[in-house]
Amino acid sequence: MAAKPKLYYFHGRGRMESVRWLLAAAGVEFEEEFLETREQYEKLQKEGRLLFGQVPLVEVDGMMLTQTRAILSYLAAKFNFYGKDLKERVRIDMYVDGTLDLMAMIMLAPFQRPEEKQETLASILQKAKTRYFPVFEKILKEHGEDFLVGNKFSWADIQLLEAILMVEELSASVLSDFPLLKAFKTRISNIPTIKKFLQPGSQRKPPPDAHYVDLVSNILQF
């Protein structure tokens, strides 16, 4: 029987959270090793497990995978969340990449200086409401289906839900002009594996706080 995937990262969202979402959506149990000190991090580097010296690192199916997108693509394909052919896959890739662009801004904000942070947060909300959410609202409107691609639950749906929830943490009313996205959010949140992940006690991580920012800055030394 296959061993559980093992995730190596800090005890926080960062770049690993999307991986946790994907595994949770697939109903796959996983283990986590949390990096709490610089020494632990350096140990992983010295052991040659980090291809470019970085985390996230996921040990899965006998491979040591790094690079967030490589990990996510592999898991999406493995769990059949990647569409049924190349045309569906490229659509999923486009939607996911757009969503990840938005999420990258959110991820960076806590690490910025206060003046920059304000600007970034404003930019995130503006981009969400004018560049990203309208696209997905339109997609859902045009095909009238429950899921973004191919009338089937895919990585694109998982990634979008994660992004919506993160933006809502910054501004609870951000979906007020997007009725279909509101319905989408409810619908996807009610998928049993997702519902479980959204409940307290799951491996979902909380938003970053000052402690997390300090920890990561110290370990990665920036």
Binding site: G53, Q54, M64, T68, Y74, K87, M94, V135
Partner: protein, 224 residues
């Protein structure tokens, strides 16, 4: 009949260059539509051509593709440059994503503030020397080839000490080491039996032709 792919971007490297390289490597002819003014970009946006209002955009197979990675993944899959299964794809993705990180640093250099530039260049230099260049897809593919060459004639790389050292070094990386152990997905050499099986499965004697070809080429190399 399908037209040539059309690439929409500025007349510069930027984010379109890797796409350009991949199409060129695949031997695909393409057209380039350069954006020369703000109005050009506005028009594309107003016509609804750009999903997230951004370029690069590639018109191919009736699709308007955006997002560099999505485009590269599509082209790589279409022209068989993406490995043969999801595990190979994961390895390729890892290397190309790492390269993309380094590329991004270099890409953003011209647009950063003058005060920051020196620090950024130093960072690129440090990462290149210590993280990225030490290992690339080129190394992996070369080492793979060395194994095959050895299978043909074990003495072939004996006169290449640097290649031997590379082979040892790469083979000892934890991931590669695992892959080289018995029981991994690694395939055995093509032999008469697998050629016969291949013939039964495919309608051409492609496998047989390739094996013969390979042997012929190595014999030629030996004679030189």
């Amino acid at each position: 009949m399908a037209g040539k792919p059309k690439l929409y971007y500025f007349n510069a490297r930027g984010r379109m260059e890797p796409i350009w390289w991949l199409l060129a490597a695949a031997g695909v002819e393409f057209e380039e539509k350069f954006l020369e003014s703000a109005e050009d970009l506005e028009k594309l946006r107003n016509d609804g051509y750009l999903m997230f209002q951004q370029v690069p955009m590639v018109e191919i197979d009736g699709l308007k593709l955006v997002q560099t990675r999505a485009i590269l993944n599509y082209i790589a899959s279409k022209y068989d440059l993406y490995g043969k299964d999801i595990k190979e794809r994961a390895l390729i993705d890892m290397y190309t994503e790492g390269m993309a990180d380094l590329y991004e640093m270099i890409l953003l250099l011209p647009s950063c503030r003058p005060e920051e530039k020196d620090a950024k260049i130093a960072l690129i230099q440090e990462k290149t020397k210590n993280h990225y260049f030490p290992l690339s897809r080129a190394d992996i593919q070369l080492v793979e080839l060395l194994y095959y060459v050895e299978e043909v004639d074990s003495s072939l790389i004996s006169s290449f000490p640097l290649l031997k050292a590379l082979k040892t070094r790469i083979s000892n990386l934890p991931m590669v080491k695992k892959f080289l152990k018995p029981g991994s997905p690694r395939k055995p050499p093509t032999n008469a039996k697998s050629i016969e099986e291949g013939r039964k499965i495919s309608s051409f004697n492609k496998a047989a032709m390739e094996a013969k070809n390979m042997q012929g080429q190595y014999s030629k190399a030996l004679q030189q």
